[in-house]
């Protein structure tokens, strides 16, 4: 039995080493065994208790939504739950009970809250329950402070979740933002919201006959670029996220300037332009539009250039040079152009995984024109995975900063709304509901 276990452990380790070489296309994360965590429902003393249901729900959602940990079902937990480390060994609470079946957890998150100086304080702990001695089991033990209200409880839970997830190499998405396009005010404007759909608010307020869409955020999080239509030709506008004001960007003389993206150093913008006449092709310019240079010259529509965020040396894009729109890759100088998708259907909306090895995109492969589904692809191997399967039109997938989540728009519920999901297509969550919402981009 023991020999078998060692063999199994060795095999698991070997698999882990192999998988750790590069992110798994199925999850967007580096492979390996997913640890199991038990999350005890925590209680608060006095007034703190009134906010603990929000806290417990937020903590659970954060951990579950990360895809980094598997949560042991709560119905299997021992009846006596620890609230602080010294509870182990007393009141019949044994650390080993959490590691044994039926819980079979590797880790236990527990703690309690109280009111201190009118604020909510959480004593949060994470223990490795496989340790025989509770004295050596502590992984996280920290105090978290927040306002004494639901928002404060949510913030405290997010921070505690972030510390837990950090132990497993997963970035918490708490604090990350999603920019998107919404027509709820009557015109298409750029909006922003928290990663979980909270705090939805407008970024632009042009109104009138304008359409503002195709947002992109610089990697340093200081600038927003987007495309605007009015009665005039489509043009690119640049926006400071720090001041909320417009920044200068000189559009080339062209009937179309659209679909901007930043280079990872935030110093250049790549975009689609019909500058010079003819077809909309890929161009690069400085952050203010100076030093314009064409990257492609072809009698076909080319758009959606996306620069590899890791290397900054390659671009994926949508090109119609083969007749129908497909995903292509080229160098940042426009050389070595190669098609990544098979040529079937229409393939559009490429976006890079933060690791720079995978892309997500939309494809009508196997469906009628316009019925896009979300796919991911390992760019080097050309292996792809289909994440959605015909529930409405699914468009504009972009990756979360944690590399595990994808945000996209879908008409699966009738109107176009924004959803997030894990990069394996599970845990789909609806984030918006007012008006029509499209073109999400997820930033730090």
């Amino acid at each position: 039995m023991r020999v078998l276990f060692i063999l199994f452990a060795a095999l698991a380790a070997a698999l882990f080493m192999m998988a750790a070489q590069q992110p798994d296309i199925r999850t967007g994360i580096r492979g390996g065994e997913i640890p199991v965590i038990a999350i005890a429902d925590m209680r608060g003393s006095g007034e703190a208790q009134t906010h603990m249901s929000v806290f417990n729900r937020t903590l659970f959602d954060e951990i579950e939504g990360s895809g980094a940990l598997k949560i042991a079902p709560k119905s299997m937990y021992p009846l006596s739950v620890p609230q602080q480390p010294r509870d182990f060994g007393s009141r019949g609470i044994a650390i080993g009970d959490w590691a044994k079946p039926p819980v079979s957890a590797h880790y236990l998150a527990f703690g309690y809250s109280a009111v201190q100086d009118g604020r909510l304080v959480l004593f949060g702990y994470l223990f490795d329950v496989r340790q025989p001695d509770a004295a050596n089991a502590q992984v996280v033990g920290k105090l978290y402070f927040g306002d004494l209200n639901a928002e404060g409880a949510r913030k405290v839970a997010q921070e505690f979740a972030a510390d837990i997830l950090a132990r497993f190499g997963s970035k918490s998405l708490a604090g990350s933002k999603i920019y998107f396009v919404s027509d709820r005010s009557g015109t298409k404007e750029i909006w922003s919201m928290d990663y979980d759909g909270q705090n939805q608010q407008p970024v632009t307020r042009f109104g009138g006959q304008t359409i503002s869409f195709m947002p992109a955020i610089s990697k340093d999080n200081t600038r927003l670029a987007f495309t605007q239509l009015s009665q005039r030709n489509p043009a690119i506008l640049l926006w400071s996220l720090e001041t909320g004001r417009r920044l200068p960007f000189v559009n080339p003389q062209a009937s179309v300037n659209a679909s901007p993206d930043f280079t990872p150093d935030s110093k250049n913008i790549v975009f689609s332009s019909s500058s010079g006449g003819g077809f909309a092709n890929i161009f690069i310019a400085g952050i203010d539009g100076s030093g314009l240079r064409p990257l492609t010259r072809v009698r076909a529509v080319e758009t959606e250039p996306k620069v590899n965020p890791q290397t900054g040396t390659e671009i994926v894009m949508t090109s119609g040079r083969g007749g129908t729109p497909q995903i292509y890759r080229m160098t940042i100088d426009g050389a070595d152009i190669e098609r990544l998708t098979s040529g079937e259907g229409d393939a559009v909306n490429p976006s890079w995984h933060p690791g720079g090895q995978l892309i997500a995109f939309c494809w009508t492969r196997g469906f009628e024109p316009g019925n896009y589904n979300i796919f991911t692809m390992d760019v080097a191997k050309r292996e792809y995975l289909q994440l959605t399967h015909g529930a409405g039109r699914n468009e504009n997938p972009t990756w979360a900063p944690d590399g595990r989540h994808i945000v996209f728009s879908s008409t699966r519920g009738g109107s176009a709304q924004i959803y997030s999901m894990l990069a394996d297509g599970t845990q789909i969550k609806k984030l918006t509901g007012l008006g029509r919402n499209t073109m999400p981009v997820w930033t730090k």
């Binding site: 195709m214 689609s272 019909s274 077809f279 529509v301 959606e304 119609g320 729109p325 229409d346 024109p369």
Partner: protein, 259 residues
Amino acid sequence: MTKRYATALTLTLALFAVAGCKKKVPAPAIPKPADTKPVTQTAPPPPKPAITFSAEPSTIERGQCATLRWDVANATQVAINPGVGNVAANGTQRVCPTSSTTYTLSATGPGGAETATASLNVAPPPPAPVKDPPKPKLTLSEVLSSQLQDALFDYDKSEVREDARNVLTRNSEALKQIFRDYPDAVVNVEGHCDERGSAEYNLGLGDRRATASKEFLTQLGVAEDKLKTVSFGKERPVCTDANEGCYQRNRRAHFSAGQ
């Protein structure tokens, strides 16, 4: 001219008649009534001629023609005047009068004579636009929407189709006239797409549809600097139904007033 000679001749003859011509002309034999009246009622009297006579259509524009159609029974001689003369008992005749005319059909037969008329109203044609341009009372937008048609495209394509060529050829003539009537006008050639492609790609595709349409028009002599292309991608659809009929209406080059 001929009429004047005829008048002169008539007057001359009249003068002779009044002055008295010495040559006695025998009076024409007047048929006795007994000759034409049946003596006995052995047979019913021959029926009078029955006439059907029409002009189709009854109203034409100057320069156009109409058809006279008739059918006469119980007649031995049928004539239509003016301009046609003796004709058969039934038939058709194309007439192209330059002014409103009332045609008279006279039929004579054993039962007597009958006439019928058919009026053909000739409307004056509209004044020639070049010599007498209509006052630009309509706004440019109204003129464009009433005189120009959308050119339609295939899915994912910006090539000008055969039907779009015909539309654009007609539009080119209308545009030339519009630019004469509205010398300051600039016309937007808008490129649009159906809802199925991506918004990003459609912005480029709409641009191509606008550019291809503009190039076609300028090849037909429409002033290039009067036409401005603009792409709306799939952002301004004319309909939102999810069927090919609506998709086709949205895959278009549309013409609107520019600034």
